[in-house]
């Protein structure tokens, strides 16, 4: 019965068109915010610099700091360079997690604030395709931030990530991102329902920083806290990247255990997150409508 251009049930080409349009629009928008992308490559370097400087001051030198750090945390690192790389990788991974939370988890709230969420929901584009566009965009942005921060950090802290298995570390990063999407969908759903979304996401990013062991492995936690922390996909990803790059033992066990866990998390977590997002969205539409915040 529909006349006009658009179709309620389009083919794969039109669906791919939606994904591409969302991806391209988000990319265009961020490039028009001067300095934003640059800042997210600088921030992990600064965050890595803080404990490095603190450690050197506390222990009276970087090598002492490295020795104390590795002895205390029960990891089998060696040199000051290993210690600096440890901090750098932790910070870079934390940056990726933060980006996911804000770009996906906060995406709905941002669209509400700018008034474009209703316009989006008025279109026949499937939520799945729109989210695919958003997640693709965050993937590229996170990858760029990670790689640029790694290069900058390597230059500033005089470390060489290529000495370790860098490609495998990046592969773990790529494999870990879908689980981050899932967590972000979950929190994006919560953000739709609560007023204070900004504060909750901010708190969450620090909870994740703590739980994923951005500055130290979670093995230093008491048993119960350690188990909970190890259940977080970001902790798994962080540990996989660091252990691969530094050649130290993973807290999860041999490499095939790590890989297996990451593969499971890569499909299970986004699936659960997406389902929760859809369920919450339906409730919001029933109550106040999606435009309210």
């Amino acid at each position: 019965m529909s006349r006009g251009f658009g179709l309620g049930r389009p083919g794969p080409r039109a669906s791919a068109g939606v994904v591409w349009a969302v991806f391209r629009a988000r990319l265009k928008i961020i490039t028009r915010y001067k300095g934003a992308v640059f800042l997210e490559s600088i921030i992990p370097v600064i965050f890595a610099g803080l404990p490095i400087l603190l450690g050197a001051a506390v222990a009276g030198g970087e090598q002492n700091a490295a020795n104390n750090f590795f002895a205390y945390t029960g990891t089998t690192g060696r040199t000051a360079a290993d210690f600096r790389l440890y901090m750098l990788m932790g910070s870079n991974t934390f940056m990726v997690v933060t980006l996911m939370l804000w770009l996906i988890g906060y995406w709905v709230r941002r669209e509400q604030e700018t008034g474009t969420l209703e316009a989006l929901y008025l279109t026949p584009a499937k939520r799945f395709h729109v989210l695919a566009g958003v997640t693709s965009y965050t993937f590229i942005r996170a990858l760029i931030a990670f790689l640029v921060a790694t290069v900058l950090g390597a230059l500033l802290f005089n470390v060489n990530p290529l000495e370790g298995n860098f490609l495998a570390a990046v592969a773990y990063l790529v494999l870990g991102i879908p689980a981050l999407w899932g967590i972000s969908f979950f929190f994006g759903a919560l953000v739709m329902r609560i007023k204070e979304a900004n504060s909750v996401i901010q708190l969450l990013q620090w909870v994740l920083a703590f739980a994923m062991g951005v500055y130290f492995p979670v093995t230093v936690f008491p048993f119960l806290l350690r188990v909970v922390a190890m259940g977080f996909p970001p902790t798994l990803m962080n540990d996989a990247i660091r252990s691969t790059l530094l050649g130290i033992a993973s807290i999860y066990g041999p490499w095939y255990v790590v890989l297996g866990l990451m593969l499971i998390a890569a499909w299970l977590v986004p699936l659960l997150g997406y389902e929760f997002f859809g369920w919450t969205e339906r409730r919001v539409k029933r109550d106040q409508g999606v435009g309210q915040f």
């Binding site: 600064i46 506390v58 222990a59 900004n198 703590f210």
Partner: protein, 260 residues
Amino acid sequence: MARKTLLEYSRYPVAFGALFAQIFLIILLFVLTTVAFAGGDQRTISRFAGAMGYGFVVNIILSFTLWEIGFSIREEQVRGTLESLYLSPANKFSNLVSRIFAVLSITVLMCLGGLAVVSAVAGGLPVNNVGLGLLALLLTTSGFLGLGFVFAGITIKLKETAQILVNGLQFFFMIFCAMFYPFLALPSFVVDDISRWIPISYCVDLFRQTLLGQQPELGVSYAVEWVIVLAFGIVSPLVGYWIYHRIERKARTDGTLGEY
């Protein structure tokens, strides 16, 4: 207006709680890191945890001042209430300052709580010359007000880009004013060529070293540091407000006050 700000906070209990929890987590993160580096030396842990803790207090106050004054202007712009605010006969200065007074009380609570966490984890914190320390903090806060006014003015002018700018500036201060570690952690050329030229460095050093009962780290005497911090505390809010006022007048002339 202070009551309005507090009332707004009370209607967002989750935000309120989240803010407290966030502070504690950040502090815990750095204190545990300090413990990891100290090799079990309790005195070292206590001393550096103190340096980190007291520096963190200054960082929190800077953050809150910048964001509560400047960012709230941004929020008013986006919500469209900034022009209404300007149409009211309320004094613009008191409008800006009332925001920070309301929030300072919350900030003080957070700092005390944060220091309690540091003390608990690190097994104690050196606390000396509390009165002088508080005076240094008061002057520091006054100086930060000036920075907040400038940020508010920049926000009116640059809108969203201002936030990115201030984020960058915050990190700059965090590193070069040694808020999370002693100045001896920085390379000497960094301290000499950068840190010593920033008044905030003296604020951090004076407050921290007074409470730790140690000598200043920036190579000048206590007396000199007091003079610098006093001057910062008096001059900064005056200059900051003057800059804000000029930018705001220009925005009213150009008709861009309500734009966001």
